[in-house]
Amino acid sequence: MSKSKSFLIISRRPPYGSSHARDALDTALTTAVFEQPVAILFQGDGVYQLLSGQEPGGVRQKNLSATLSALPMYDIDRLYVCARAMAQRGLDQNDLVLPVEVLDDAGIAGLIRNHDVVMNF
């Protein structure tokens, strides 16, 4: 690949109810395989993807947490969450399956401006 671009994936949907959360992660992983820098922002109901203790066997789906935990292996280590989304849901770092950086609105707006390609799911 001749060029390099920085990617930001914004993941806004809760896990399991639809395929959006899975598709966002698959896109992030694939982009990382292309050796492009990838960051992920979990926003809105997307922060529910990070909740610990998920057991989706009863709804016959694969555990999203396993994929999330694999992100650092693909050099996707810039993981952000929206501060408002966390606060509205009464969540903090201790509730989550992996460490993330909490961003306020100004931080998120800046994050978007600092990436070449921003994709929402």
């Binding site: 809760p14 896990p15 399991y16 109810g17 809105g44 109901d45 529910y48 909740l51 610990s52 203790g53 998920q54 057991e55 989706p56 066997g57 009863g58 709804v59 789906q61 849901r89 009464g90």
Partner: protein, 93 residues
């Protein structure tokens, strides 16, 4: 008596508001799929309305230990029984 089901998260505020406004005494509200996240809000239910959440969806999303008192968890068989016990089933989505 009506069984209301709701499968969208509380961020779909318009849906949740309309659903809650339609509840009457002796109705039951069943939360399923992404709707189980509504159980984490302090829902203002009318007197005499029971609120239950579907077990498989609660477990999938890891929110079992976070459910407030007053939300019962029912399995798939319990869902079927609720459909029998009520006169109609209205799904909000």
């Amino acid at each position: 008596m009506t069984l209301h089901t709701l499968n969208r998260p509380p961020s779909d505020r318009a849906l949740l508001t309309d659903c809650l406004a339609a509840l009457l005494a002796d109705d039951t509200l069943l939360l399923l799929e992404d709707g189980v996240y509504c159980a984490l809000e302090s829902l203002s239910l009318p007197t005499g309305v029971r609120c239950v959440a579907l077990a498989a969806d609660v477990e999938a999303r890891g929110i079992g230990s976070r459910l407030p008192a007053g939300i019962e968890v029912v399995d798939d068989a319990g869902f079927v029984e609720l459909c029998c016990r009520n006169d109609r089933v209205l799904s909000w989505f």
